[in-house]
């Protein structure tokens, strides 16, 4: 910059007083007319905290109903430490996903930590807790009979996922893929919670592979559904 006069000139233009932009008058008038034609009072969305509390309430309600329906067989198998630590980890993850969902409803929301880091931190935290606190079984036992848990887990995830999507769509989510993945994560997490407290097989391998697999599949399904919705929306807007 010190040795280049042209650079200094361009830089000063960049920081200098704003030149009046070339105004697209026709566009402005057209836009004003369209907005005026459909101008109705709207009620602003509640704060992020209240929206997140709503998602946590949906999570808690579905989890309580489903655990009551399937029976708390898994909770009975866990000791006090396992029960407390697992509950804290799952609740913390549910709160984080709820905050992420409520922020995605509002464009331009603050994001201090990327969503991928949160997902990674939860996955690592859950894996560590399970690996340390729960007993390991042998490989054939781990692989046997686990598919039923994953299958039921996916079925369990569908209704709460639909309810959360309905509430999230009341905002203005900008990225369908991101919203789909987050709703998938919330629904998968709920399913994981229900399986954790209902399934009587509390071995580490089973929990990580077959219960954790539900979250992975739910996130993937949500992402693909979001991508498909995006393609449909693009096709509709095509001239």
């Amino acid at each position: 910059m010190t040795s280049c006069a042209r650079c200094r000139q361009l830089y000063s233009w960049l920081l200098g007083p704003e030149e009046p932009a070339e105004l697209p008058n026709g566009v402005q008038e057209l836009v004003s007319r369209k907005l005026r034609a459909s101008l109705r009072p709207v009620k602003p969305l509640p704060s992020t905290g209240r929206l997140a509390a709503r998602f946590v309430a949906i999570f808690g309600l579905f989890a309580a109903l489903l655990v009551a329906y399937f029976g708390p067989g898994g909770a009975a198998q866990m000791n006090a430490t396992q029960l407390v630590v697992v509950t804290v980890v799952l609740l913390a993850a549910a709160a984080l996903v709820a905050v992420s969902l409520s922020r995605q409803m509002v464009p331009g929301s603050v994001r201090r930590i990327p969503l991928s880091w949160l997902v990674g931190a939860f996955a690592a935290g859950f894996a560590l807790v399970v690996a340390v606190l729960f007993p390991w079984e042998r490989l054939p036992e781990m692989l046997a009979g686990g598919w039923a848990c994953t299958y039921h887990g996916i079925l369990i995830a569908v209704p709460p996922g639909a309810v959360m999507l309905y509430f999230a769509a009341r905002g203005a989510p900008l990225s369908y893929r991101s919203l789909g993945a987050t709703v998938g994560a919330a629904a998968g997490l709920l399913s994981l919670t229900v399986l954790q407290f209902s399934c009587e097989n509390q071995h580490a391998g089973h929990l990580l592979l077959w219960h954790g697999g539900v979250v992975v599949l739910s996130v993937a399904a949500g992402y693909v559904a979001g991508w498909a919705a995006e393609q449909v929306a693009l096709r509709r807007r095509q001239p």
């Binding site: 280049c4 960049l14 070339e22 004003s32 369209k34 009072p41 709207v42 602003p44 331009g108 900008l174």
Partner: protein, 175 residues
């Protein structure tokens, strides 16, 4: 913005008058015709209108507006890519040449050409920071990223701009 949410038509007109030039500048690009940009601006306003209930009076307005504008631009790009991939070209277009120096080119045009050479993610950060005058925090909100990521993109953009300007200056001296 709050008056616009309460359906005040004058507030809507005022917003359109003040923000359309900014949106026009942000959504224009080297591969867009003026008509394409005008379409994008109109689409962006319709999205803003549909999403107006999500604006909160306690939050800054520019990140909210530019987050919507950014996604309108991204969707426009995806749509154009989809059309381009299906169209059969009847004529061969001339390849883009590397930044010819045109005599009498205005400073603004020249800067625009330099900015067009940046990756889209870096260009949008520079436009928001330097042309629109948003803060790092506001740009982070508008681009759904963190302040650290915005700083990194801006730093890379400055480095590339510095290199381009250096090359251009060297060329001028030689000629």
């Amino acid at each position: 913005m709050v008056r616009y949410q309460r359906a005040d038509p004058e507030a809507a007109d005022e917003l359109v008058r003040r923000l359309t030039p900014l949106l026009f500048g942000f959504l224009s690009g080297p591969t867009h015709s003026r008509a394409d940009t005008e379409d994008l601006v109109q689409e962006c306003w319709l999205r803003i209108h549909k999403s107006r209930h999500t604006y909160r009076a306690t939050e800054p307005v520019l990140p909210w507006i530019f987050a919507i504008a950014r996604h309108t631009g991204l969707d426009g790009y995806r749509r154009r890519s989809r059309v381009d991939s299906r169209e059969v070209k009847t004529e061969r277009l001339p390849e883009r040449t590397e930044m010819p120096e045109l005599p009498g080119m205005s400073l603004k045009d020249e800067l625009g050409r330099y900015l067009d050479q940046l990756p889209e993610s870096q260009k949008e950060v520079i436009l928001m920071l330097k042309v629109t005058g948003m803060s790092l925090e506001e740009v982070a909100r508008a681009t759904s990223s963190t302040v650290g990521a915005v700083k990194q993109k801006a730093h890379r953009a400055y480095e590339k701009l510095r290199r381009l300007l250096g090359e251009s200056d060297g060329y001028r001296r030689k000629s």
